[in-house]
């Protein structure tokens, strides 16, 4: 692959016969239940992204300071840098790399999966033999935090 790098860190190149765009930068995460936002810790809202072709890899360490009255509502992380592609083949996700100050049962874990055609990820709690359920605000807790990284297909 070869290409030119401009002053903002973007380049494009050709791999075989396919032209690929390359771009890297930052994105700002938020958290909500889809309508009410949690209060974010301003020191833990910025993530990195790298986009090569239609694949976007994101990472970050995100923390809140308040639930703003949310309790049993399933919550999500918003603000992905690109829309996820549409169609069921575009679903993606992964497991949280690290968590802190969460209010989840012992021996359970948190994962996340994308919404398609949108720019957020659902948070999932694996605490049931049958599968996962949406992580609620109270399970997250006011000062909860996680680290994550994953790759998805951009729309």
């Amino acid at each position: 692959m070869s290409g030119l790098i401009n002053s903002a860190g973007s380049r494009s190149g050709v791999l075989g016969t396919t032209e690929l765009d390359y771009e890297e930068g930052t994105w700002t995460a938020g958290m909500s239940d889809g309508s009410t936002s949690l209060t974010m810790n301003g020191s833990f809202v910025t993530g990195y992204y790298t986009k090569i072709g239609n694949l976007v890899t994101v990472s970050g360490f995100f923390r809140t300071t308040g639930l703003n009255g949310l309790t049993s509502e399933a919550i999500r992380i918003t603000g992905l840098p690109f829309d996820v592609a549409t169609g069921s083949s575009a679903y993606s996700g992964g497991g949280a790399a690290y968590g802190e100050s969460l209010n989840i049962p012992a021996n359970s874990s948190i994962s996340f999966n994308t919404a398609v055609g949108d720019s957020f990820i659902y948070l999932q709690l694996w605490d049931d033999a049958g599968g996962s359920s949406g992580l609620t605000a109270s399970e997250w807790s006011a000062d909860g935090s996680i680290q994550l990284g994953f790759t998805y297909r951009a729309g």
Binding site: A8, G79, F82, S119, G134
Partner: protein, 77 residues
């Protein structure tokens, strides 16, 4: 952090606006605006104009339907 508008991309059938901005340090920052959002009063005028042009009632209705279908898929029953 002051951000300078660099590019507006229109994506998906729902006319989402993918915004690329340049930070003080020269890097890129990205965000996506959806057609059901209320834009901030201090949003870039170019973005406000694009939203006004593209976010028709038909587009908003299709987006609402898509969101409902996805929620149903994620939370069956």
């Amino acid at each position: 952090m002051a951000l300078k508008l660099d590019r507006i991309e229109v994506v998906t059938d729902y006319k989402h606006l993918q915004i690329r901005e340049i930070t003080d340090s020269g890097g890129y920052h990205r965000r996506v605006l959806h057609c059901d959002q209320t834009l901030a009063e201090d949003e870039h005028q170019e973005i406000q104009d694009k939203a006004e042009e593209l976010w028709t009632d038909e587009v908003k209705s299709a987006w609402t339907t898509h969101q409902a279908e996805q929620e149903a898929e994620m939370n069956p029953g």
